[in-house]
């Protein structure tokens, strides 16, 4: 017994906490840091839009239509004399909201279905994955359009439409991860102990999917933002006079030649935000890479 009670010396140097390594790996990726910076600014703008915007974004001023960019109107005015800069600042709110809410909803659905599908397998798995394949093999914008036409255009319906489209990808990723984890010995150990299935899924499998989910989350947000922009552009998303970037591009497109800023400025805003999310997502994926393989 003497050698047992000695208390094995745990590695004398403690490895740095995992998150420190991840942060360090992330910080080495410049693009990712830039992306994060941009997104912090975008988030700040969304929160502080009323304070930052020089004008009321909805106030129609006849006689001030299509003013060139100037000190008073940094990006000019649109066809109703509204300040484009103020509208873009307010547009961050819709874009972030659309980016976050449907992504959260769809991923929650996807996580639940993916866990159930992977863990229980057999018939349940077959049905869920068949449904997911159907959703994935249908052009997603078309599917969203169908939902929007049926339900009518409103913010809530955009959430529903985008969630209905977005869950399938998450479900597949979570299912694959669950399948890989399901036969790991620590899951078997938990079953041997007599832990209930639901507890195994929530305590053992889900936490081990988190790195994947985080990456997926940051990469799904720009998809949602783009989908909203497309729907709004097509006139079945946000409705005028909402300050939605997609809607603004749609509204400005007729005047592309005499007042290009009306359409191009919101387009650039979309571009920058989406790129920032993609940089962030790629950076996270690289930083988390060792933890993505289970």
């Amino acid at each position: 017994m003497s050698d047992l009670t000695l208390g094995p010396e745990v590695a004398q140097t403690l490895p740095e906490p995992v998150w420190k390594e991840i942060v360090a790996a992330f910080a080495r990726n410049r693009l990712a840091v830039v992306g994060l910076g941009i997104l912090l600014i975008v988030a700040f703008v969304a929160l502080a839009a009323p304070l930052l915007a020089p004008y009321d974004p909805y106030k129609v001023k006849l006689g001030e239509q299509f003013l060139n960019p100037s000190w008073n109107h940094p990006i000019g005015t649109d066809m109703f004399g509204r300040d484009v800069f103020s509208r873009i600042l307010y547009g961050t709110r819709i874009s972030l909201l659309i980016g976050l809410v449907p992504t959260l909803i769809s991923m929650t659905i996807g996580v639940i279905l993916g866990l159930v599908s992977g863990y229980f397998g057999r018939r349940v798995d077959f049905l869920i994955m068949m449904l997911a394949d159907m959703v994935l093999s249908f052009p997603s914008l078309l599917l969203a359009m169908i939902v929007m036409y049926t339900l009518g255009a409103s913010l809530l319906n955009i959430f529903i439409a985008l969630s209905a489209v977005g869950w399938a990808g998450t479900a597949r990723v979570v299912r694959a991860q669950t399948l890989a984890l399901k036969n790991k010995e620590f899951i078997e150990a938990s079953r041997a102990i007599g832990t209930k299935d639901i507890a195994i899924m929530l305590k053992h499998i889900l936490p081990n999917c988190l790195p994947q989910l985080l990456v997926l989350f940051t990469l799904n947000i720009p998809d949602s933002i783009l989908s909203e922009a497309s729907l709004s552009f097509l006139g079945i998303g946000a409705q005028p006079p909402a300050a939605s970037w997609g809607l603004m591009v749609a509204g400005g497109r007729e005047f592309l030649f005499n007042a290009p800023w009306v359409a191009i400025a919101p387009g650039i805003a979309i571009l920058i935000t989406v790129l920032a999310f993609n940089f962030l997502g790629d950076g996270l994926r690289d930083a988390l890479d060792p933890y993505l393989k289970s």
Partner: protein, 327 residues
């Protein structure tokens, strides 16, 4: 009832290759094929065999971690297969398993304290966090881990220490019976001895019964009271370990025992029989005796009739499945 703690009769597990709604399940593998087994209380029964022998599957069947396809299984005189899910969950407190891979058997995202306490939480043992923490600390003492490391994560521990964590978890509910699935084969020689001694010590202290799965003949020799030798899902030979090693009855046992390399350079001068050929595919095992394609003593009879596991010697203590047993 034979007074055995665990009693298996004709225990069989089939795995079908390819399983789905539209895919026709093709071949079936008889991973465990009609195994009869008695494990006496406070005994260590070792199960030895090569890959594909079904020894790990058998271990999981014995604690109903996987469901048998057919056969019967009793634990402490109660029919284990008749239990409903609630009763089975209660029963599982008496049966535990220790795994081979000290890395895969611990959830990397849980602290040691939570890993060892998981059985307590699952079965609602101990009131509140502090009582559970005391229990965890006592378990860590028991397996020779410093209780100060309770709040650390598994990756901070060495292989041997992780194996101790797995053992502490298995002991949390005071089980009677533990399946040890190759518990030391992933460990270094010097650590292997520590863990073997710990298991031995715990067996005495906690009055445990072990089903000890291993491919290592010398480890089996050291830890077990009796041994069963498996080949392609069937028991080829069983009996008291010392006797089986000293006088193997089945040709396969004889080859296994002589094949194991020994730390003695003079063994090179000993003419050793070497078993030729490969292990046959479990999807398509040979007719008759499964070992006959590798067996130098095979006769036509062996291809036709499968030899049953028949008792030999006083009290049928030794059993062998061979038409032409040695000695």
């Amino acid at each position: 009832m034979s007074g055995a703690l665990v009693e298996a009769r004709a225990l069989t597990k089939l795995f079908s290759v390819g399983d789905g709604m539209f895919r026709k399940s093709g071949a079936t593998i008889r991973a465990v094929d009609g195994v009869d087994l008695d494990i006496r209380e406070r005994e260590t029964l070792a199960c030895v065999g090569e890959s594909g022998s079904g020894k790990s599957t058998l271990g999981r069947l014995l604690i109903r971690l996987i469901e048998p396809s057919s056969g019967s299984l009793s634990f402490g005189g109660n029919d284990l297969l008749a239990l409903g899910s609630r009763a089975l969950r209660q029963r599982k407190r008496d049966m535990q398993i220790i795994f081979q891979d000290p890395y895969a058997c611990l959830n990397p995202r849980m602290r040691v304290e939570d890993i060892i306490a998981e059985p307590l939480v699952s079965h609602d043992v101990g009131r509140g966090k502090s009582e559970r923490r005391d229990r965890v600390a006592a378990l860590m003492d028991l397996v020779g881990l410093n209780r100060g490391f309770m709040s650390r994560y598994p990756h901070m521990f060495s292989g041997g220490q992780r194996q101790r964590i797995g053992i502490a978890r298995a002991l949390a509910l005071d089980p009677k019976f533990i399946v040890c699935d190759e518990p030391v084969s992933a460990l270094d020689v010097s650590i292997q001895a520590q863990v073997l001694n710990l298991l031995e010590e715990l067996k005495e202290k906690k009055k445990l019964t072990y089903f000890f799965i291993s491919h290592d003949l010398s480890v089996v020799r050291h830890v077990s009271d009796s041994v069963c030798v498996m080949f392609l899902g069937k028991v080829m030979e069983s009996g008291p370990t010392a006797e089986v090693y000293a006088k193997p009855l089945h040709p396969y046992t004889m080859f296994l025992v002589s094949a194991a390399p020994r730390p003695d350079p003079r063994q090179r001068f000993v003419e050793k029989p070497i078993l030729q050929g490969e292990i046959p595919s479990p999807v398509n095992p040979p007719s008759g005796c499964r070992f006959r394609t590798r067996c130098p003593f095979a006769a036509p009879l062996c291809a036709e009739i499968e030899p049953p596991l028949a008792g030999r010697g006083p009290d049928d203590e030794r059993r062998v499945a061979c038409h032409f047993p040695r000695a």
